[in-house]
Symmetry: C2
Subunit: 345 residues, 2 copies
DNA sequence: TTGTATGCGTTATCAC
DNA sequence: GTGATAACGCATACAA
């Protein structure tokens, strides 16, 4: 099972390395006779070019920019940042230069500004969290014009010419939350869907989850599902009224990682009979999961989303691998018991 | 953020590439003056050797053998085989030659025979499923003597000089199964642990799960947990009696992927009030999961175990990466709803 | 103690 | 059309 090189093939075919190269890469300028001789050898053996050598020969520096919200504003993005750091460590030895830029997740204008800056750097690729629809369409178009490769993570948007997505199926995610909710609440109960701080900007994101959640209970029938949108600073003042207004409320599904805000209230008011399901392994969420105030967390694996998105780009540049148009990660169900198998050691 | 090469450093320090090399690799034979000059430069810049170039320079063929049970005997091993295939495709372009050898999972002697054969091939590394304790100790010793690197997957054994394990924490796995069982059965119920076809050979494997399962219910108290060992060909004849003898049996925890055997019986006898939890995403298991005969499956990710074990070896050979002594994968909880997010597209 | 030359496999260039 | 040759970055054998 020897590994054949171009030199081997040249010797076997009785031609020079240059000719073999021309045949393999179909560059033409090869006589029929030489072509036949080389092809005969190629059919005999299983030639696979040495990707290390090929990549070394190219020896380009590749520059990738990651654009995402500042994790200091919203802890959800912290693991993404860690994923970037790991990728930097992992790939810098291969001539890959990875940078990150933060935008303000409340301000579409900052999203545009940051991308303007990044565009000016003319990187080889950009990996971005497309939180704002309109603005994303615009910046993607700009990158396309400049021949800059774009990949997206976290939030799947239907945008033209927009491939290379790493994330999860949000509709399915909502359905999974619903199926878990059904398991832990009584039949025909009233269940609330709570969106925290989600204005219309990235409404699509939570709406998909909500749709999935409702579709599951619609199929069963007889459950009462109510949606409540709120701002995190008003929770203490208004959630009590909301709960009072929905007597027999048995469960709350929080569509984002801010579920700990709701859990804090529920614990505080000793309403532990209300079951809570939410998203992501933030420290605060973990705390309430371990206290069984939160019953299930759904893991969106943000770190892996970013790392995988970067891996695809790197392997594309180094080894010419194709980037999957859509890479949907498993939707992990986290309980107090299996939690720590998902945490880093 | 330019990438520096040895040549760059040599020029900056005003010495030759050879001297830089001697300093970096601490080979000695460098004058204090030259050493200082080079070090001054190295402290200034962030030099990372180009791993592609280094690996190309080495240009060795590496030979890895995977030894595991034949997947035609037991479908559990099919994904492992797929993982091997993927690794072969992925890494053959880097001069890695991966082979696999099957043994008969019922015959420790065949395990020894196969390993004898593999030892004779003198590969660079062996990745093995250590199903038999005594025999594994022996073959690992042989490999160590021959300076052949050994990694293990699936089954964690306490063996001397035995590092490089990829798998799951089985005790924890049992606890997770128990916590799920508790969610779906009534208080203080009777619950059965069923081991199918597990003779003393790889008893440790299922015993760990059983211990974990019992430890969880011990902490709660008042549940009745019974263990039943059976042969798969006797299930139809004996399971009925077992169930009759344990009136009020509310749940069954099957410690391996053969849970579909139990599910078939339960469905057939219309005993769907008995909740079933088992292991692994075999087609048969998936069928019963979708029919809600099986309520949860725990995913051991056998494919990833093998692939990751091989990746560690490959990156060790190519890029001199350290192999983690113990790599424990997340323990995934699978329901009918999130199942397909774990299946390949 | 130092520097230079060579080769790993692939590819691009340049004479012939 | 063809076949030498150089270069990518690193490591090493060898010459100075």
């Amino acid at each position: 099972m020897k590994k054949y090189t171009i030199k081997d093939i040249a010797e076997l075919a009785g031609v020079s390395k240059g000719t073999v190269d021309r045949v393999i890469h179909k560059r033409g300028k090869v006589s029929a006779k030489a072509y036949e001789k080389v092809n005969a050898v190629l059919n005999e053996i299983d030639y696979k070019p040495n990707l290390l050598a090929r990549s070394l020969k190219n020896t380009k520096e590749y520059h990738i920019c990651v654009v995402l919200p500042d994790y200091k504003e919203d802890a959800f993005w912290t693991p993404c940042f860690e994923g970037i750091q790991e990728a930097i460590n992992e790939y810098s030895s291969f001539g890959i230069f990875i940078e990150y830029y933060f935008f303000d997740l409340m301000q579409p204008s900052s999203f545009l500004e940051v991308h303007k800056k990044v565009l000016g750097l003319l990187p080889n690729a950009v990996l971005l969290a497309p939180l704002f629809y309109k603005e994303t369409v615009k910046v993607v178009a700009n990158y396309n014009n400049a021949n800059i490769l774009v990949s997206k993570f976290n939030n799947q948007l239907d945008i033209e010419n927009s491939k290379n997505f790493v994330g999860q199926d949000l509709f399915k995610s909502g359905r999974i939350a619903a199926s878990l909710m059904k398991e832990i609440t009584s039949k025909n109960a009233t269940i609330a869907i709570i969106n925290i701080d989600e204005d219309s900007n990235n409404a699509i994101y939570v709406q998909e989850k909500e749709k999935g959640f409702r579709s599951y209970f619609n199929e069963i029938g007889n459950y009462t599902i109510v949606t409540w949108n709120c701002k995190q600073q008003n929770i203490d003042d208004t959630l009590g009224d909301f709960i009072d207004n929905h007597s027999g409320l048995a469960g709350i599904f929080v569509t984002t990682s801010k579920v700990y805000k709701i859990a804090a209230f529920i614990k505080n008011k000793q309403l532990a009979h209300i079951k809570i399901i939410g998203y992501d392994l933030l420290d605060e969420n973990i705390k309430y999961l371990n206290q069984h105030i939160i019953h299930f967390l759904i893991h969106q694996n943000p770190k892996k989303q970013v790392y995988l998105g970067l891996t695809y780009l790197v392997e594309h540049f180094l080894f010419n691998r194709e980037i999957p148009a859509k890479s949907l990660l498993p939707i992990d169900i986290i309980t107090a018991e299996n939690l720590d198998t998902y945490l880093e050691v």
